[in-house]
């Protein structure tokens, strides 16, 4: 298994911490999923110290923490958010989100590359949330990223892998780079699909948190990711257009 900035993940599921019906259900979902990484964010602290309660619970999960820059629309905003996240969470890891379009939450890849360069030079280990564009991928690697996280579909859409061809091309183009499908996963079959393509991990949130039974869906995702990874390692057959009998033809009894 590839390492993420030198760290081997306990398993290939990165799970978000937002939108759960309750903290107890979030904890159950994490337990059932076995996720090795939790994504978190920073928001204005309220008078009651809500952030401290949340932090205590996340710390107790015993998973790796990946803070994000969700909702940032400019390089400056993303860089400042990353600096604050590094101090609060005590990790150089940052899931770099630079949103370019409000409806699709599509990454602004031009600002993304610039922010990735600034943060890498400042000692951050950047996990860029990007599109499935190969040239952007190259630029991000050139900017110092050692991980790429292309979208499967828009955040929260649950549409699965919108462009399998592009994700397949990305895997082929960057065979040695840890690749994560981030966003758009709605069903376990989508997660399995990403792993079958040879992706190294899957990052998802809404599909589990907004399911009717988040803990059960978390378990389903974990099983699907395992199945997809095993399938990739098992070297699947190529699809073909015509039928090919699986039962031997030779030796068939002559019965007209």
């Amino acid at each position: 298994m590839k390492t993420f900035y030198g760290t081997e993940l306990p398993n290939p599921l990165m799970l978000g911490t937002a939108q759960y019906p309750s903290p107890a259900i979030l904890e159950q979902a994490f337990r059932e999923s076995g996720a090795g990484v939790a994504t978190v964010s920073l928001r204005r602290e309220g008078a009651g110290g809500a952030g401290q309660t949340f932090w205590a619970m996340i710390r107790d999960l015993g998973v790796l923490i990946l803070p994000n820059t969700a909702g940032c629309h400019t390089v400056k905003e993303a860089v400042t958010t990353a600096q604050m996240a590094r101090e609060v969470f005590g990790t150089p890891w940052i899931k770099l989100e630079l949103i370019g379009h409000t409806d699709s939450l599509q990454p602004d890849v031009f600002q993304l590359v610039e922010a990735a360069r600034i943060l890498t030079e400042d000692g951050f280990q950047v996990f860029p949330y990007t599109t499935d564009d190969l040239i952007v991928g190259e630029r991000l690697l050139g900017a110092g990223c050692e991980v790429l996280m292309p979208w499967g579909a828009p955040i929260g859409s649950g549409r699965g892998l919108n462009n399998e061809y592009a994700l397949r091309a990305m895997r082929a183009e960057f065979p040695d780079v840890p690749l994560v499908v981030d966003a758009g996963i709605g069903l376990p079959s989508h997660a399995a699909h990403a792993m079958e393509l040879g992706y190294d991990a899957v990052l998802l949130n809404t599909a589990v948190a907004r399911a009717g039974d988040p803990a059960a869906m978390a378990r389903a995702m974990a099983l699907a990711i395992d199945a997809g990874r095993l399938a990739h390692e098992a070297d699947p057959i190529e699809a073909r257009d015509m039928a090919e009998p699986s039962t031997p033809v030779i030796g068939k009894a002559f019965l007209s």
Partner: protein, 64 residues
């Protein structure tokens, strides 16, 4: 002194950023920015506030 704390106009006694956090009851893991510039925790004691400063205090929160 009048400042803006997390988007709300406030009248405060504090003269430095670290005093402000104490005055407004913040504790634990928080990060700060003044006028959109990150101020590391180690520099809060020496960071003097000015009239009209916009201060952000953020903490861990759920995220995807």
């Amino acid at each position: 002194m009048k400042i803006v704390l997390n988007g709300e106009a406030r009248e405060v006694q504090s003269e430095t950023l670290s005093e402000l956090l104490e005055e407004c009851g913040f504790s634990g893991r928080v990060a700060t920015a003044v006028n959109e510039q990150f101020v590391p925790s180690s520099l809060r004691i020496g960071h003097r506030l000015a009239q009209g400063d916009r201060i952000e205090v953020v903490a861990p929160m759920q995220g995807g």
